[in-house]
Structures are given as C-alpha cells and as structure tokens.
C-alpha cells in the first residue's frame, strides 16, 4: 500500500511536472512564463532520472567508515541530474536574455503578438506582402494566356516587331 502510494507520488509527480510544463508552454501567452514552464518540465524529467536510481533503505553513495557494506543508491542518475540541471540553467539564462531582447524590440511579452510582428518582419525583409496572401507563390500554375500567343510569335521566330 505504501509502496503503491510512493510509486504514484514519485512517478505521478515526475510525469505530472513534465505534462504541466508542456501545458504551460502551450497555453501560456507570456513568454516569461513560458520560460518558467519550461523549467518546470525540466524539473519533471530530472525527477524521473533520480527516481530511476532510487532504492529503499539505501544511503547516499559516499564511502565513509560506517557505510562499508550498506546498500547505496545508484550514483549514475545523480551525476546525470547534476549535469542536466546545469544544462537547464544555461538554457534558461539564454532564454531570459532573449526574452529581454524580444521585449525591447517588440514592446510586448505576448507570444501571439510577437509571432505576428515576427511574421511581418520576415515578410517585409523578403519583400513579400504576406505569407498567406494570394500573391503568386513558388509553384504557381503556368497557364499561358491564349491572347498572348500572337504577340510573342513574332519575337520567337526572329521576326521584326
């Protein structure tokens, strides 16, 4: 019973954190909150790793005089989690720097507005009116107008204009 409860708590907690993080990223509009949601999801994944190395009634894997023959938990996931936390810190720092710059440029933290302005920027820089407008696309149909045939006839056959 207790094992079941612990099981649910641990695995449910880890998976819950991951899912909460993902839902946060999907549903939140504020980009700062999105960064936080990402951190929550990372925490969930880290928790899953730690659980993987857990065993009951075991001590930390540090050899001291008294711990000679005692059961120890798995040191590998601990090392992995250490690494992944540090990685997470680096990514979050970069994300925050980007949040700051995005805010300075677009004066908003709303992901929807940012996306709109970004699309406009890209469209402007490439000289396209809008991605979803009805302007001639790359694979537009090459149906020549019948009326144009006669005009070009002279050019192609080497005739005078």
């Amino acid at each position: 019973m207790t094992t079941d409860l612990i099981h649910w708590l641990l695995y449910g907690g880890a998976m819950g954190l991951i899912v909460i993080g993902i839902v946060g990223v999907v549903t939140l509009n504020n980009i700062f909150r999105i960064v936080l949601a990402l951190a929550i999801a990372e925490a969930g994944a880290n928790l899953l790793l730690v659980i993987a190395g857990y065993r009951f009634d075991a001590i930390a894997p540090i050899l001291t005089g008294s711990s000679a023959n005692q059961l120890m938990v798995d040191p590998v996931p601990q090392a992995m989690v250490l690494t992944s936390i540090v990685i997470g810190v680096g990514i979050q720092a970069l994300a925050l720097a980007l949040v700051v710059k995005v805010y300075q440029n677009y004066k908003t933290l709303d992901i929807g507005e940012i996306h709109q302005q970004l699309s406009t920027d890209i469209d402007n820089s490439s000289g396209v009116i809008s991605l979803l407008s009805s302007e001639q696309p790359a694979g537009e149909r090459p149906l020549p107008e019948p009326s144009a045939q006669h005009e070009t006839a002279q050019l192609n056959q080497g005739g005078d204009k």
Partner: protein
C-alpha cells in the same frame, strides 16, 4: 570501341563543341556538319536497318551494384535515323541566313544549335539503352534536354516549358515507380530478366505496370489526358527547334513504350485482361485512348489561328495513329504505326520549316493575317503542299501509305468502330491542313506582303530535301519498309511482307508505283487537254480583281480567312478541350488548397501544441 561507341562519342562531341562555341558565328554550320558526320556514323551501322544483329556498346558501368549497358538494334537504328535526319534538316536550316536574323532580334542561334545537338545526344543515349536503368537515365536526359530547347525563346515559351516539365516529371516518376516494382519482382534492371520473368507476373502486376508505364511514356507522346502541355511547348520553340521537336521528340515516348510495354512486359497479355463492367479488354481501352488522341487534338488543331499551334496540335493527333497501329499487334498494323513515325517526321519537319520560312518573311504565324503568298514564295508553297498532302494521308505522298496500312489492319482485325474513329480524325486533318494552306498561300495577298520574296537558298535547300524525301518514300515505300521490317523483327513482331512499291499480302496489297503512275498519268492527260485544247488562260496581277461590278483594292478584305470554319466549330464546340483543362486546374486547385492548409500549420504561433499532440499520438500508437 565499336561503331556504336563512335556514334555516341561523335554525338557527345557535337554537343560539347556547339555548347562551348555557342557564341561563335560559324557554330551553326559546324553543328550541322557534325550532325552530318553523326549521320554517316549511323549509316556505317546501317546493317541494323536490314536485319543485322544487335550491336553492344563497349561501355559498361556498375553503379551501386547495378550494371548499366547500352546497345543498338533495328528499332533503335530506325528511330536514330529519324532523329539525326530531323536534326540535320533543322540545323542546316537554322545555320545560314535565318541565324543572322534571329540573332538580330535578340535570339541566340548558337544556343539553339547546342540545344538541338544536346537533344540528339540524349535521344541516342535513350535509344541505345540496354537495361531499364539506362533507359530511365536516357529518358530523363531527353526530358530535360528538350526543356532547354523549349524555354530558350523566353517569354511565354518558358511558361509552356514549365508546364511541360511538370508533366514530364510526373511521367518520369510514374516510370520510376514501374521500374522499382519490376526491380522488386525480378531483382534486376536487365531487359533479359524482365522478359524472362514477365510470363510469371500476375494479372494485377501486369495491369499496374502497364498503366504506370503507359501513363509515364504517354506523357511525352501526348496521349490523351496528358496532352495539354505539348502544343504550346512545341509551337513556341524557335522555328527550326519546333521542326525538330515536332518531328521526333514525342516519338521517344513511343520508343520507350515499345521496348518496355510491347516487347518486355508483352502487350499480348493485355488482350486477356478484361476491364470490369465493360466488354473491353485493356488493349481495347488503350486503342480507344489512341482513337480519342487522334480525334480531339485534331479538331482542336482546326480551331487554331496560329500556324505553329495548328501543326503542333496535329503532332499530338498523329501520335494516336502510331499508337493505334502498333496496338493492333499484327504485321500490317504495326508496320503502319512504325512507318507513320518516319512519314510523320518528314511531314512535320517540312511543314514547320515551311511555316518558319513564312514567318521569316512576314513576321507572323497568325493565319488571319496571311494569305496569297503563293506567287511570292512558290517553292515554300510547294514544300508546304507536299507536307500537307503527306500529313492528310492523301496519295501520292508517304503519309498515305502508313495510314493505309493502319486502316487496312483495322478492317482485317474487325474493328469497324475504331476505323470510323480514325476516318473522322483524318477528316479533321484534311480540313485543318486545308485551312493552313488556304490562309497562308491562297487567296488575297495582303498589302504589307506585296514586296516579299522567296526565302534564301540556305533555308530552301533543307526544305526541298525533306519534301523530296516525302515524295520518294511515298512513291517507293519499300525503301523505308525495309527498316520498318527489321524494327518489327527487333520488337518481336512478324515482319511485314513488302515490295518496293508497297505491300503484298494475301488480304490486300498496295503498290504505290502503280498508283503514282496512274495518278501522274491522269495529271498528264489533264495537262494535255488543258494546254493542248486551246489554252485560254490569262495572267493577271493578284490584286487585279473585281466583284459584283466593283473594283476591289487590297484594303478591301474579300478573302475569307478570319475565323475559318466558324460554322463547323459552332457545331462541334470546344467542350472536350475544356474538360481536360478543367481536370488540370482542379488538380492544381487541390494542391493549392492543401498547401494553404500546410502553410497555416507552419504559420501557427504555437508549434509546441503540435509537439504535444505528436507525443500523445505516438505514445498512443505504441501503448494503445
């Protein structure tokens, strides 16, 4: 290094030289002469045209474990002869005075010559292919080389070229799928393995493979639902290029289809394949496709007011005759189909060159703005006349022979409905070529054409040579039937029993020498009567006319050419052409709609949602 390798090497060198020297003034002549050398090299293996054995190329490659080989047989030789011949005529035509004027108006004659010689080389590679893989490589090379020829005029031509390449790629992919399936079934790309394994294929495989290959190769032939690209793409090419493309380019589709579908998979099997809910077999279906390919494009040609488009639409229709003849599978019909390849190539080359000559002088191909040129350009008129007689299949020109063989075979095989269909097609041909010659050369001369002259000899000579060939091979079809018979033998058909003047079978014979003798005898008698019986003719100036008591000046239009056949077209209508256009544009609309949806997806500002959905669905896929 045998003669085949020599031929291919010369062809490659021709392409390279004309490519590298395409800015040089004399490159036109150099290309033409090199093409002549190719022609001679081809003649050195002319034993193939007279029942000789297959020549294997010494070049063999193995790439990714797949051997590639090349070889030439009677069929390849027959097609190669037409290819190089057409290229020679076009190249000589384009090399001289024509090039100067073309260049003056911003064209690049060197590029045109390069494109033609490249096309010749790629076509020879295709014709020489010795396994399915080299066939596909050759096929794609031909496709892309002809794109170069089609788009080099710029302007509207590039749009037609683009349309062509989309159709061609679709065809090529269909072929690739077919080749892939064959590879799966036989474990190799070799012809021999396919031929050996073909008898074990299940009906489903035969049907799927045949449809894939016929659709793929049919695109280049302009078989019915896939024909929309062809007329414009051929017509908008600079004149000599049109002549070359019209003469031979789409026949490459026929060649490949003959090799794969007729020879290797075996068309005989298709007779056995019944189409559900109909009385038709798969072959009957194809024959009806061929019949409609004859009729619809021919009547579309009738509507054209641009001489080049009119001819190009005919090119599609005439392909139907060849297909029809070969689908008959008997010696007479298949000989008719193959012979028509040769005959049609000569006719189309002559016609396109003649029209180009007219455009050279008048600067227009618009049939509503021409007329009465017969006195100004008599030799061009003669060439055009010979060409249209051939195209319409009227004696004594060569087109009659091949069409006669096809009609004869249709009757022998007991297919009256198809016979009627082809006759309807021929009727359309006659009407439309009459429109062509009437609107250009007959009737009233336009004021602005008052002072034009015959085209220079550098252009006339190739035209006249082609016209002579049309007449001679019409007079003595046995010359060509020699080659046709060995091509038939290479394909595995029973060769036709032929004579110099025609055919001699138990169920019908034709002797063109006799027929021509009667015909010219008749003409001679007529001439005797006319000139001997008091020639009352009086030469007047072409503009010296009056009607209803009123003198007519050149600016009064009494020559009926505008909207020719309006009444007829009113009855026929253009519904069929609209159908195919509608098909095409609805396909494109579907793609457009789908692509709009995909863009919306990429435009969504929450891509993370897709990640969530994908993760959930794929986990569900594994767990659920």
């Amino acid at each position: 290094m045998n003669q085949l390798d020599t031929l291919l090497l010369i062809s490659l060198i021709t392409a390279l030289i004309s490519g590298l020297g395409r800015r040089h003034q004399l490159i036109g002549w150099a290309t033409a002469i090199l093409l002549t050398v190719q022609f001679l090299a081809l003649l050195s293996i002319s034993s193939l045209g007279y029942g000789g054995t297959v020549i294997e190329s010494a070049v063999n490659l193995t790439i990714l474990g797949q051997p590639l080989s090349w070889r030439f047989d009677g069929l390849s030789w027959f097609f190669a002869l037409i290819t190089i011949g057409a290229a020679m005529a076009s190249s000589f035509f384009a090399a001289g005075i024509w090039a100067k004027k073309y260049k003056k108006h911003g064209g690049n004659p060197g590029l045109l010559q390069f494109a033609m010689s490249l096309n010749v080389f790629t076509m020879l590679v295709l014709l020489a292919s010795g396994d399915l893989l080299s066939l596909f490589i050759g096929w794609e090379l031909v496709s892309w080389a002809s794109l170069l020829l089609m788009v080099l005029a710029g302007g509207i031509a590039t749009q037609w070229g683009l349309r062509y390449i989309v159709y061609a790629t679709a065809g090529a992919m269909s072929i690739l799928a077919g080749i892939g399936i064959i590879y799966h079934l036989t474990g190799s790309f070799a012809y021999a393995d396919l031929a050996a394994a073909a008898s074990t294929f299940s009906t489903t495989h035969v049907v799927v493979l045949s449809l894939l290959f016929i659709a793929g190769f049919g695109v280049k032939m302009g078989l019915l639902p896939f024909h929309l690209w062809q007329a414009g793409a051929y017509a908008e090419t600079p004149g000599p290029g049109s002549a070359f493309l019209g003469a031979i380019s789409s026949r490459m589709g026929l060649y490949a289809m003959l090799i794969v579908v007729f020879q290797l998979i075996g068309l005989g099997k298709m007779i056995a394949v019944e189409i559900p809910f109909t009385f038709l077999s798969l072959r009957d279906l194809l024959m009806w496709v061929a019949a409609f390919t004859i009729i619809f494009p021919t009547y579309t040609a009738l509507r054209q007011n641009d001489a080049r488009y009119l001819l190009a639409w005919h090119g599609i229709g005439q392909g139907g005759y060849m297909m029809m003849g070969l689908l008959l599978l008997d010696p007479v019909g298949s000989a008719g189909g193959l012979l028509h390849v040769f005959n049609y190539a000569t006719n189309q080359a002559a016609l396109f060159l003649a029209i180009t000559a007219v455009v050279y002088r008048t600067h227009t191909a618009d049939l509503n703005r021409l007329g009465g040129l017969v006195n100004r350009m008599p030799l061009t008129f003669l060439v055009l006349l010979v060409g249209i007689i051939g195209l319409a299949g009227i004696p004594p020109m060569n087109g009659f022979v091949s069409k006669w063989l096809i009609y004869r075979s249709l009757i022998i095989e007991g297919m009256p409905l198809l016979f009627v269909a082809t006759v309807i097609g021929t009727l359309g041909t006659i009407l439309s070529v009459y429109k062509l010659i009437h609107n250009t050369f007959l009737g009233q001369l336009r004021l602005e054409h008052e002072h034009i002259r015959e085209v220079p000899w550098s252009m006339l000579a190739p035209m006249l040579v082609v016209a002579t060939i049309i007449f001679i091979t019409g007079f003595m079809p046995g010359l060509v039937l020699d080659w046709v018979a060995s091509a038939q033998a290479a394909l595995g058909f029973t060769p036709l029993a032929y004579t110099l003047g025609g055919v001699e079978t138990a169920r019908g014979s034709l002797d063109m020498i006799w027929l021509c003798g009667v015909l010219f005898g008749g003409f001679g008698v007529g001439a005797l009567l006319f000139y001997g019986g008091g020639n009352k003719a009086k030469r007047v100036h072409q503009l010296d006319n009056y009607a209803g008591g009123h003198f007519l000046t050149a600016d009064t239009r009494y020559h009926y050419s505008n909207n020719f056949y309006a009444g007829l077209m009113h009855h026929i209508g253009g519904w069929y052409r609209g159908t195919f256009k509608w098909l095409e544009s609805s396909l494109i609309s579907i793609v457009s709609l789908l692509s709009g949806l995909t863009q919306i997806l990429f435009h969504s500002y929450h891509p993370a949602l897709f990640l969530l959905i994908t993760a959930t669905l794929s986990l569900y896929f594994f767990i659920g």
